[in-house]
């Protein structure tokens, strides 16, 4: 079945950050990469990003997740891609 998970209303928007953007985010939050929440490399959202960008996403890349929030309208989170 050809299902695009990104179209589901419960799946938030994912954006791959460039190395430079990643550095900016880490600097702003004053954290190491390891301290960010994680997302698995085989997560459907990452697979979708790989397909649409036509590149493989290596471990250690950071994605920006924009999701709807009960309290704040929408909310931006960052997740670092990990193996397993």
């Amino acid at each position: 079945m050809d299902l695009n998970v990104m179209e589901h209303e419960l799946v938030p928007e994912h954006y791959l950050l460039s190395e430079k953007e990643t550095e900016g985010v880490l600097a702003e939050l004053k954290v190491e990469k390891e301290q960010l929440p994680k997302i698995k490399k085989n997560d459907p959202a990452i697979k979708f990003l790989e397909r649409s960008l036509g590149e493989t996403i290596e471990e250690g890349r950071v994605v920006k997740v924009i999701r709807k929030s009960h309290t704040a309208g929408f909310f931006v989170a960052y997740r670092v891609v990990v193996e397993r």
Partner: protein
């Protein structure tokens, strides 16, 4: 010890390994051979279970291993050499896996070298064997490897055919039905080469599998199993010692029999008995074997039982501990003390102490305290604090008595610590279980009082969920200046008037307190000079305001005027009173406060009540906790003063309604029941029109429920017409003090349909609920409609139906509390070490980000308005004035905020609990 401060070390890993028999013997202080403990003189026997090498528990003796006395010697292990090996119950699962996964003849893993390494490599690649994941990773690895190896029928190394090994619970193994002795098991495990263990997730350097079969049993130090001497002089041994005696006796008999060449059968029986004793020594709740019992029939509490569960070492002694400087007693109300205070009985105040460090500035003061002795009494028998103990700089504690007070006082100098008894104003923590939220433990100021109960202001009952039907509460005295400062700033009652659960007050008026305020402000109630003076005197020294009304020529003060005296001078607020939201509107339904004056309306639950009080909320939010505290304290005094002046009572005659009304109700009910009968007839005749999406039966049920529900409401309405606001019960219901109009209509009018699982009653006898009805009677009465009222009394069948409905409620609450309790425990365990950092992120102890911004909006729910950061309506009101807002008619908010929902939910639960009769029945 002091030098250790600030030095933190990180635990990188914890290694679990098996004790080898060699290691057990090496760490053993002595070998134990006799089952006897003490000789006739009460002296420990050498090489017995109480051997002095194992440590000392009696004062005066010295440990033969380390030379330490009772408190210095930590105790030392001994060991028992078993005549025959025994299986360790804690490892049977692993033993089974190992036996199944290895060859019965050559002992190799039943996998080829390539297969074995592939499993190992896969695990390594996945990082399962890294230091951090080793514990879980190796369990996973063992599972995978063993699963593959067990399938193999022929050994790939020696081609021996494998047989099926099964576990005969709890500790016996069988191979094709033939029993394997622990000795055989051990021999097999010994044959497994080190290299074949690694793919199984076992590190052979620290855990050889044969060590899971016990040959040398470690004997715990006597300090772990102290014997107690009873008053009669008899010795009573610990459960573990009893079990060790059993092990030693059987071990001895087994050795003798074996060495004497006794028949195989006898040796085997003894061997099994030894296995039983060792198993129960480790775990006395192993399924499949009867627990070992004490002479009295009580099951023994052995090693596993000491650790496991709520009463085990972890949850009961390590995560939670008993504390000193605490008190517990029954609580009772005192409307005259502040919400910040707690009344403390003198006996408790004398026992509880605060350490006072003697400094230059207080040397003389402390000397004076000590000199007074432990029970000083002031003029008129007034309480005075004394000192119970003085601690010298070398750490010695000296008990202060009337006799030595003088001498001890003279000895006091700088560096001493005096344990001073509590005085008014000391900060203590006050707590009521179950401690479900942070408001279950708040900081109060002490007020030493006569009597034997803790006293608290009624307005703080809601956060503790306390009442006075026998509730007990705990009190803890803080022991350091830092703790006191912290508690005063963070935990004081007044700092918790607004709840973080929903942005509203949890502390506020309840019950009589609301009734009092209502009586004061409703229907132009007024007070003469004497009454007014009395009420104002409750608030301390206040000028008498100008009387605003005249009754029979005498100057009178209206209740609203008096209530206004405790409002902040510039408070402006408009809202609907509780009496407006229940029943028909009256003149007082809309409350209008302008510049600190109640212009119109009545002060009830919506104004000052816990959870709902608008005035409390506004004062707490806009003017801070101190102002809110003062307001609540003063309303308590005024309301209590008023209700005592006016008098207030309720009785069953409050639900009296005229005969005519009763007839009317009976008619309404009869009509409804006839309608239901008609419905049933239509249903049986097949003429009932089916509702979309429902079966015919469901349609009938829904229709009947609707009809009968309406009938009950109508009955309530009729009854309600005769119950006006001059009625005490109605006052309580409509002002929100206690009870509801539904409660009243059930007492005066009709109780209504009883339901189980939301349906009319149907279960019981064959095709009917009770034998009083005909089978297949689907009418109102036959299926649980109660036409009687609580006041008129129920018919026997009605009573039975009512009990059915009531039972469901009880079961539901029981299930709900246990389930939500466990759910909360899991949540707390998962969330306990998260904290909000200075930058607004939520992180755990390794500083990993859990949430980029607290609550995603960064709003402190305690400072929010029903969950929202800003109350727009209120800001507009403040800026434009109440007239402009009224003129502009702001659109109603479409969605209730999270906080508002939470509050409604909370109130619902509280009401449920009350309705079910929260009485403490026998719970003392």
């Amino acid at each position: 010890m002091m030098a250790m401060r600030g030095v933190t070390k990180r635990v990188r890993a914890i290694k679990f390994a098996l004790l080898s028999p060699d290691e057990i013997r090496r760490m053993s202080a002595t070998k134990i051979i006799t089952a006897d403990t003490y000789d006739d003189d009460g002296f420990p026997i050498d090489m017995g279970l109480m051997d002095l090498h194992l440590g000392v528990i009696e004062p005066g003796l010295r440990c033969k291993t380390c030379g330490g006395r009772v408190d210095d010697c930590p105790g030392h292990f001994g060991h028992i050499d078993l005549a025959m090996p025994a299986i360790h119950v804690g490892f049977v699962k692993e033993l089974k896996t190992l036996l199944q996964a290895t060859c019965r003849s050559c002992g190799r893993l039943l996998l080829t070298k390539e297969e074995a390494t592939s499993f190992l490599e896969a695990a390594k690649r996945a990082g399962a064997l890294s230091t951090a994941n080793e514990a879980i990773g190796s369990i996973q690895l063992m599972k995978l490897t063993a699963k593959a190896a067990t399938k193999r029928q022929i050994c790939p190394h020696c081609s021996a055919e494998q047989m099926k090994v099964t576990l005969d619970k709890p500790t016996a193994f069988r191979e094709d039905g033939h029993k394997l002795t622990p000795k055989e098991v051990r021999e097999r495990l010994e044959r497994i080469p080190d290299d074949d263990l690694r793919p199984l997730g076992i590190n052979p350097d620290i855990a050889r599998p044969e060590w899971m079969v016990i040959t040398a049993l470690p004997v715990p130090p006597v300090t772990v199993r102290p014997s107690i001497t009873l008053e009669s002089g008899d010795r009573s041994e610990d459960d573990l010692t009893h079990k060790l005696v059993d092990v030693l006796r059987i071990n001895q008999r087994l050795r003798e029999n074996r060495d004497a060449g006794a028949p195989q059968l006898i040796v085997e029986d003894l061997w099994e008995l030894l296995q039983y004793h060792i198993t129960t020594f480790i775990d006395n709740q192993t399924s499949g074997i009867p627990p070992a019992r004490h002479r009295s029939g009580r099951p023994l509490r052995t090693l596993v039982q000491r650790l496991k569960g709520k009463e085990g070492r972890f949850r009961s002694n390590l995560s939670g501990k008993r504390v000193n400087f605490s008190a517990r007693t029954v609580i009772s109300p005192d409307p005259l003390i502040s919400i910040n205070e707690v009344g403390l009985p003198v006996v408790a105040a004398r026992e509880l102490t605060v350490p006072v460090h003697v400094q230059d500035y207080n040397l003389d003061i402390v000397k004076d305290w000590v000199q007074r002795g432990p029970e000083p009494v002031g003029e008129n028998g007034k309480y005075m604090p004394g000192v119970n103990y003085v601690i010298r700089p070398d750490g010695r504690r000296i008990r202060v008595t009337d006799k030595n007070a003088e001498t001890v006082s003279e000895a006091v100098e700088l560096g001493y610590i005096a344990e001073r008894q509590l005085v008014d104003g000391d900060i203590v923590l006050f707590n009521r279980q179950p401690s479900l939220h942070r408001m279950s433990m708040l900081a109060h100021e002490v007020r030493v009082m006569d009597g034997k109960t803790f006293r608290l202001n009624l307005a703080v009952c809601p956060p503790y969920n306390a009442d006075f039907d026998g509730d007990e509460m705990n009190l803890h005295v803080l022991q350091s200046e830092e703790a006191r400062a912290e508690a005063k700033v963070l935990m004081r009652v007044q700092e918790h008037i607004l709840s973080p659960r929903f942005g509203g007050p949890v502390i506020g008026a309840i019950h009589d307190h609301i009734t009092g305020a209502f009586l004061m402000t409703f229907g132009g109630s007024s007070f003469n000079r004497e009454e007014t003076a009395y009420l104002l005197s409750l608030l301390g020294d206040r000028p008498l305001p100008k009387p605003d009304i005249k009754v029979e020529g005498e100057p009178h003060w209206s209740g609203r005027l008096l209530f206004s005296t405790i409002l902040p001078k510039d408070l402006t607020l408009t809202f609907r009173a509780s009496i407006g939201s229940i029943g028909e509107d009256v003149e007082e339904s809309t409350v209008s406060i302008v510049n600190g004056k109640v212009i119109s309306g009545v002060v009830d639950e919506k104004a000052i009540g816990a959870f709902k009080g608008k005035i409390v909320e506004k004062i707490a939010r806009d003017r801070g906790s101190e102002a809110a505290r003062q307001f609540i304290d003063e309303t308590t005094r005024l309301a209590m003063g008023t209700i005592m002046l006016k008098g207030f009572t309720t009785g069953i005659d409050d639900e009296d309604i005229p005969e005519e009304a009763k007839r009317e109700i009976a008619e309404v009910l009869d009509r409804a029941m006839t309608e239901v009968t008609n419905l049933v007839q239509a249903y049986k005749a097949g003429e009932l029109e089916q509702m979309p999406g429902r079966s015919l039966e469901e349609t009938l049920e829904v229709e009947a429920m609707k009809k009968l529900g309406r009938a009950r409401d109508d009955a309530g309405q009729i009854a309600g017409r005769h119950l006006g606001l001059e009625n005490s019960a109605v006052i309580m219901a409509r002002s929100g003090a206690r009870g509801s109009m539904l409660n009243l209509s059930q007492m005066a009018g009709c109780i209504g349909q009883q339901a189980v699982r939301g349906e009319r009653l149907s279960r019981g006898y064959w095709k009917r609920t009770l034998p009083h009805f005909l089978p297949e009677d689907l009418g109102a009465k036959a299926k649980g409609f109660v036409t009687s009222s609580y006041k008129s009394g129920l018919r026997p069948t009605e009573y039975f139906f009512h009990s059915m409905g009531g039972r469901e409620g009880l079961v539901d609450t029981a299930v709900r509390t246990s389930r939500s309790g466990y759910m909360q425990r899991r949540l707390i365990n998962a969330l306990e070490d998260l904290k909000v950092m200075q930058d607004g992120t939520v992180r755990n102890t390794s500083r990993t980000i859990i949430q980029f911004r607290f609550g995603e909006d960064g709003i402190n729910p305690m400072r929010s308005v029903g969950g929202d950061a800003v109350d727009v309506d209120d800001v507009l009101m403040e800026v434009l004035g109440p007239e402009a807002v009224k003129a502009g008619k702001l659109p109603k908010r479409e969605m209730a905020g999270y906080g508002a929902q939470e509050r409604d939910f909370l109130v619902e639960i509280a009401d449920d609990a009350e309705a079910l009769g929260d009485e403490d029945g026998g719970n003392l």
